[in-house]
Symmetry: D2
Subunit: 378 residues, 4 copies
Amino acid sequence: MAKLQWGMIGGGEGSQIGPAHRLGALADGLFDFTAGALDHRPEAGREYGQRLGIAADRSYGDWKEMLEGEKKRGDDAIDLVTVATPNSTHFEITKAFLEAGFNVLCEKPMTVTVEEGEEIVKIVEKTGKICAVNYCYTAYPMVRQARAMVANGEIGNVRCVVTEFSHGHHGDATDAENPRVRWRYDPAMAGVSGQFADCGIHALNMATFICNDEVEKLSADFASCIPSRELEDDAMVNFRMSKGTVGRLWTSSVAIGRQHGFVIQVFGETGGLKWFSEQPNQLIYTPVGGRTQIIEKGEGGLYPEAERLQRVGIAHPEGFPLAVANIYCDIAAAIRGEERKDLPTAAAGARSMAAVHYSVASAKNGGEWVDARPPMFR
Amino acid sequence: MAKLQWGMIGGGEGSQIGPAHRLGALADGLFDFTAGALDHRPEAGREYGQRLGIAADRSYGDWKEMLEGEKKRGDDAIDLVTVATPNSTHFEITKAFLEAGFNVLCEKPMTVTVEEGEEIVKIVEKTGKICAVNYCYTAYPMVRQARAMVANGEIGNVRCVVTEFSHGHHGDATDAENPRVRWRYDPAMAGVSGQFADCGIHALNMATFICNDEVEKLSADFASCIPSRELEDDAMVNFRMSKGTVGRLWTSSVAIGRQHGFVIQVFGETGGLKWFSEQPNQLIYTPVGGRTQIIEKGEGGLYPEAERLQRVGIAHPEGFPLAVANIYCDIAAAIRGEERKDLPTAAAGARSMAAVHYSVASAKNGGEWVDARPPMFR
Amino acid sequence: MAKLQWGMIGGGEGSQIGPAHRLGALADGLFDFTAGALDHRPEAGREYGQRLGIAADRSYGDWKEMLEGEKKRGDDAIDLVTVATPNSTHFEITKAFLEAGFNVLCEKPMTVTVEEGEEIVKIVEKTGKICAVNYCYTAYPMVRQARAMVANGEIGNVRCVVTEFSHGHHGDATDAENPRVRWRYDPAMAGVSGQFADCGIHALNMATFICNDEVEKLSADFASCIPSRELEDDAMVNFRMSKGTVGRLWTSSVAIGRQHGFVIQVFGETGGLKWFSEQPNQLIYTPVGGRTQIIEKGEGGLYPEAERLQRVGIAHPEGFPLAVANIYCDIAAAIRGEERKDLPTAAAGARSMAAVHYSVASAKNGGEWVDARPPMFR
Amino acid sequence: MAKLQWGMIGGGEGSQIGPAHRLGALADGLFDFTAGALDHRPEAGREYGQRLGIAADRSYGDWKEMLEGEKKRGDDAIDLVTVATPNSTHFEITKAFLEAGFNVLCEKPMTVTVEEGEEIVKIVEKTGKICAVNYCYTAYPMVRQARAMVANGEIGNVRCVVTEFSHGHHGDATDAENPRVRWRYDPAMAGVSGQFADCGIHALNMATFICNDEVEKLSADFASCIPSRELEDDAMVNFRMSKGTVGRLWTSSVAIGRQHGFVIQVFGETGGLKWFSEQPNQLIYTPVGGRTQIIEKGEGGLYPEAERLQRVGIAHPEGFPLAVANIYCDIAAAIRGEERKDLPTAAAGARSMAAVHYSVASAKNGGEWVDARPPMFR
């Protein structure tokens, strides 16, 4: 099976996200890294691309050049482009590549506005191209196991989903003016939301992913625990899903002592599940009236959706970079025409960004309950 | 030092709460169990009291008889009465004993209405008698350590307090009509609130206790995850405290897999704390920018407020019954005239019950933010 | 049911063990504390006893005076005496009280020599009196559950038992000459063994208790990690039990970072168990080929041996002092004539002390395998 | 920087070890997979190699063919060969490639006999080629941090190291004749040792790695808990290191409930460390007299030896495959001429295999203490 061709926009030298995507894309030998526009400084990008082994004529100076260049290559162009640029540019680049017939993996948030999100969804429908959003936590084997257990009725109808994504790495007020921290709470750079758009959105998407359901309405409470911040660094969102599930989502960046702090608990009629991103290889399961059990990655009898994403045996931990790699595995399969229902879609990207927007509005209106869905999905 | 005399109302044979109070009161040899009206069936109560070693003439048939009997004894009467009867009777009994000059330890909730709570506060002010509420979780050594750390500025001003008290023991819909479960969600028996009044109230009080602050306003979202229930079995309450602290409180009785599930996290400007009722002998502390540390009950250098409540050495666990016993130790000291600022007061009882009431109202009004304080404290 | 009369020898003011026994004996209202010789200084002991509420004529100056005094009281004497004196005196006092017809709870180690241990066993046989040894960890509900599971074949024949009791509280060489630490490693005061006699003996007894089996032979490796110590502060003992079970026991007092560090794992043909003294309310169970489960104190369906020792509901932790109290409950029942097979016996005391002695010999002989049993049990 | 050329012997289709090595070698883009003899069936190996993207003329039928083929290529040959064949062939292949001037990464155990191990050490000295052994657990960032902390005196001289590698995956006697399990306990296929050679050897090597010391003498106790097994499935080894450190090592494959079960604790004069392979991103550290702290992968201020092996930020877990990848990173650097003192050497491979052999002898002689070192290192 020939390797697919992969390109990346953004993820330049010194970024955190570039290496994660490269490792994810290359880990399983499914892709060759054949094109890139890696830096907003054209020369730096071209030079870095070549250092990473990309041919000189495909080490582009910017995304437009790359789009033109790859289009001209016809069948010998990239099969997938990853968009890992600043948030405000995701929409424009993703749209352009999709419309030119390329498959896209877009970093979250897929867009900055609700309208843009809807537009991407429509373009995907029209073009039939793949547009995945990098909600990579959903690709841990034990998250897929959780989703499969819910889908197969192992915990009955889901009554309540409780999730949090709270860390303390922005909790030092003396560091708040550090530019690497500051921009996240500045509307000029981060848009309408700080911590919720950055981390909470993962938790929100995860709730819909595991429950295979959508958030319908919500009520939010936002706070800037460090008062100099215009945008929230702590948020609580209550929601309801379309099948009636009650949702609770807390996200914070001032929770000193929590490191990554992404947890999800799903409580159904006949059982409960708990998963924690810092120990991602275990899924805690309790049947109603029974004892809590530890489901281990690698144990016998897991659902195929989980099993096929495991690389090493039971209790050999697999971590974050391989969750990203799992997203690439699924995309590769989808490109080759296999069905991959677990891949995070443009619709998921649009819905979660809409929920951020409407949470902001709800919080401003004293926690008023509002519709959480993009208009097109109402 | 002569022992004090202790009596109990309620806590009859087969109850869970009776043995916990007896163990708590007697564990340290500070009290003798000399009077009781232990059962709503007068004969059963008298007989059981005598079996427990109470003299026949002080094994009373009901609380009124006990009040009269003890009043007549003058100096040889009980020094403390514990009220462990059904919730709806707490007010009447507590009021009567306080007004007759007795010290009272009342089970939570102290009263059913806000007005009753205010009345008890006033009676305490007038009589000068002790009225403690059995918020016994506040008496764990490591909770007292947390409170002392906050008071001493070890984590700076508290930005955010996040607490949950969620279990799954009422999560089985097939058991929901079991009378032992059912009454908690029936307004006729439980009043205005189900799970929040039962468990959430502990979490709410704990937040105020550790932060040494009061809840000023709140916004609530209630749900009956088992639809046949009139009262909530899952609730989220956002609140603000008087010093600006943001509060998040989740309580549930359908969280299958959580056993007791009482956790509190306190995030300040310069550090964070975490305490979990199921492993109560550790307090998790992280200084901003530093490593997470485990503070152990029994280690050197704890605050005196924690140290004096420890009975055995480091890493010898101490559990729930001794937390109750610590409440009794503090009451004994207070009766003897020592100052005990950590003892949960009638004001705390009144404030937390008011918060329950106003949460119900907020939840009914779509999460509207409301004043959480009893009118007398506004 | 009238209370039993209880007396204590040792456990004077300022000791750690005195309060633990008083709490244990009094917690359930089964005993009255009616006699004592609490201090090696007669006046201090008499005075302290009276302060604790013992009548003046039963606040004795030493154990011999107490023995005479109580003997004279006939039916109105103590029903049980606890021996909580320095180790070297356990034998003499225990023997004297047993021979005078009293029931005894002796602190561990029951005796200092193997011969003394055998003598106590014979006296118990002859007199029919109760002589329990305070292996109090065996009285945690979840330890009793483990023993019952093994007895009922839930994990099949036990192949291997692995236990450790390792802390780091004597790990500071700069504190090694502190008299409170030093005596433990000085043969003149501690006898033949340091850490193994102090902590390892609990682990060894626990292995026999849960497996309901006896240690038959052993091979030991002792080390003085702090070189100034004559006796060992770290020991490893391999052993075999009479039914063929392989045993591994590690004990250390220089394991900096471990607090109490008492763990036992039992591996059978069809399952494994794990219990940890610092989280004593859970028992971890894995059926062969199945998932690890958490058995909670208080859950439904526990064995009666565990269930009857629980005082509060599921996930309300119960700690060390109540394990001690459970020993007193069992003794009280045994005194009243009920059968209590789970109570640690004089034979257990003699066997575990013999294992200490023979471990010392094995370690001196390069780990030679030796018979671990007192001669009378060979 | 041009990629290095990498080849593998063994690791054919369906093996567990092949994918782990491929992922490890390719994850960071340091190597191209250009040659292989992947299967003991020549045709299957050639075909599989080509499917994995190896050129037809370098998809070899066996290792001898590969050795000849690569030798002929001169400068365009592989830079590194991984030997992932059955244990009994490691020596022959490793020796041949080293002598032909290739660098080798050999799976553990490096050889089957002590003499072979010594011979490899000598060949490495003579040829100056790299021969690393895949003790991949040593390449976790937090293990490197532990080693650096010890080297920098952060816990003082090491008094005691306690390690275990115990799982329960061979604990089912009804599955013992399953060929995939059976061979490990059959001397004809596994050599002198079962579980100790398979897993214990990792723990033993880890002890020497973190302490930067060597095992000097040992005393062992072996057991076949499943009696049909000729080789041990449970072993305890006590040892002493050259600087006086006391060692304790337990390994078992019948520890039902333990999954991977590789733990190491290092106790020094001024602190203790604990690391657990199932949560490899944390290192638990306790300074003497201080509180236990959690050191997190990714936190600020780690030693460079740890820091350079991290790929993603704090609390983003990294797992087993990336530990393997770290070995490849270090080898690549070493091939390029950088010093890599943390890479597991042929000497480490020889020493640990010798310790297995001498443990077998000790266990047969009743735990006799024996020299643990290969004769060449005495």
